[in-house]
Amino acid sequence: MNFDGIHIRGVGAVSAAGWSAGELLQAVCAGTPLPAVSCPRPGDQRPWPCSTRPVPPLPPEKAARHPRLRRASAITRYSVAAALEALADAGHDTATPPPGLGILFVMMNGCVNYTGRFYHEVLQNPAQASPLIFPETVFNAPASHIASYLGIGGVVSTLVGSPNTIMEALDTAAFWIHSGVVDECLLIAAEECDWLSAEALTYYHPKLIASEGAGALLLSSQPQGPRIRDVTGPLCYTSWDERASLLPDLAAQTMTKLDAAATLIDDRCGVARIDRAETSAWAPNDWSAIRSPKTVIGESMGASAALQLVLGTLEARETKHPVVVSMPGTNTAAYACVIAL
């Protein structure tokens, strides 16, 4: 992966901590888990506990207005807010976004609320299933809405995969910038939560708490903001055992690229059995600070790696020290990167 000359010019985030990257940083640095709320099943009782850490209600002053957003999904609203924050953070006027902007979108589960609602309607009576809802279930609907909002008629693409698929998106965004396809590229990774995905997480471990949100990074060749200085990976695997065997290499290769005290932003969720390999891999090193966002905001699935990168960018800006972001992934590949000024 070649990020030479590419800067993270702006960042934005929506998370359980609030509708800004600053609120995310503050919550994660405080380290106190945000309150979880019970996630009910529609129509019946669930005989086991299941909670979520949802995104708080949208502050009215942050509501973006556009015909496409009237019935847009939560994932779209999170993504628009994060994208606009990233553009503003870079100094762009969000009312007139820069020409030459591309969009790469990453998600894991996608527009689950509308998908569940539409499928419920199909099972009830397919003749009355809503034609307004169905298009919103498609994976690339959020990217399309953002493109429409920003007036971007160029390259707009959606990737589906593990949260750290955003590293492949970053790689392509850097290539697009290097080759002149775009001048700048918005990378957005997002997820929305519903009772089905919250419940699915409890099958992995009862203590896992689902969350949601969006992280956005504006990549640019403008020399403004931190850079992704080094990347380790992808170290590819298809099983949890393979993953565990690769993580020591991920850490070791990354540490050879560090020349100063660094902060670690890891992927740990607070469940020892799930965290064991990652904890062990990074343990031999001294860190200025260790941040584990999932222990604070919950498991935001497809958005989680983007939120780590947003945090890493903010930390690098504030501390002037390098930040290691550990993204071991869940089922395909492990990545780590160093963000530095």
Binding site: R41, D44, R46, P47, R68, P99, G100, G102, T115, G116, F118, Y119, H120, V122, L123, N125, P126, A127, A129, S130, P131, F134, P135, T137, V138, N140, A141, S144, H145, G151, I152, G153, G154, V155, V156, S157, T158, V160, G161, S162, T165, E168, F175, H178, S179, G180, V181, V182, D183, L196, E199, A200, Y203, Y204, P234, C236, Y237, T238, N331, A333
Partner: protein, 431 residues
Amino acid sequence: MNTCVFTSTTVRGDSHLPSAFFHFVPTTVSQRIAITGAGIVSPLGLGWQQNEQALAAGRAAFRAVDFFDTDGLIAKTAGIVDLPQGKLFHSVSPHKQDFIDRGTRMLLLAVREALTQAGRTDMSGIDAFVIGTSAGAMPLGESYFEHARQQPARVPSQLSRAEHYQSQRQMNCIADEFGWRGPVIIVSNACASGANAIGWAADMIRSGRCKRVLAGGYDALARLVFAGFDSLRALAPSGIPRPFDAQRDGLALGEGAGVMLLEAENVRRSDALGDVTGYATATDLHHLTQPDPEGKAAIRTMTTACAQAGLSPRQIGYINSHGTGTTFNDGAEAAAIAAWAGDAVKHIPVSSTKSAMGHLLGGAGAVEAVICLMALHGQWLPASLNVREVDPAVKFDLVQKFRSASLDHALTNSFGFGGTNATLILQRRAA
């Protein structure tokens, strides 16, 4: 050897539009992207040979959907793949076998054919696997939903459903089948996904990031998606798609997979089946599901892909259109082709193979790219079936019967929900 090397100003300077209106890779590398293997699974058959025979015979492949309930829906038929009986995956655990989606099985067959054509037995040496899909393993998601609604208690198999609903887990099954480890990139731009995946892979090679990439697209029929298109009144009540017919009444859904093994020219100089010479993608902002009536984004992608290939419209020997059979799509695409081709339009043969196999959604762009490759290789043109009266908007040479032809370059269009437009151009390798 195509020696056309474009600089960024070649396209950007010719246009008043900002650069991001185009996907154009003005690399300093003038290499062609060789296609050294291709695989196709469609309702017309399994593999290149069966599909070629069916296209030559002008056969359509629609029948009643029998693996989910269509009661209450307007449409009842689709293009359905007959998968072979028996175990397709040999290196995947018995437990996982139960959770391998129908679409993944189709994709495996297409991958196997592509590798075999390239003289390979596995995926060793392949740098990345780039796959487009619109619905992924949707049937597993449906099953997860139904179990969750019906069973208040915890059901252990729900974990496997939740895991294997994820497209990347499905792709892991293919990786495991070949003992391969490498990056898997899943592009999901609705019905342009397959074309975008091939274009993405070509870019990975053009940029020098990869030497060899397996790329394509797939989708299997799923109840939610079928009901979704039905709710939009996009499916033909007649069950017969008639792309570019004046009285067309909608599309028919299908399923399938198409895969190409793409290699850097300097890696593989001979034995190639063809080349990917042009790719462009752009976004139509008109509406989430309806194209701009003038097809402006399609004009941009066809223009830009041709510029990348160093071709004029007159040099395009065949267009495999997106051609769904809906009023909106075919009108916009016909307008776009006419505007893009100008005076050359009447000389350009165009057809829609969706008339024979249905709309394969995320698989469509890849399968239709493979059909273009087959057409270039065999020097023939597949037909648009079922046309009774040609739509007056059609200015091109609508191919209504399979015929022999002499062609060196084929273009394929893919348009998707969300406004994603993609154009690929393939070139024949002389025998």
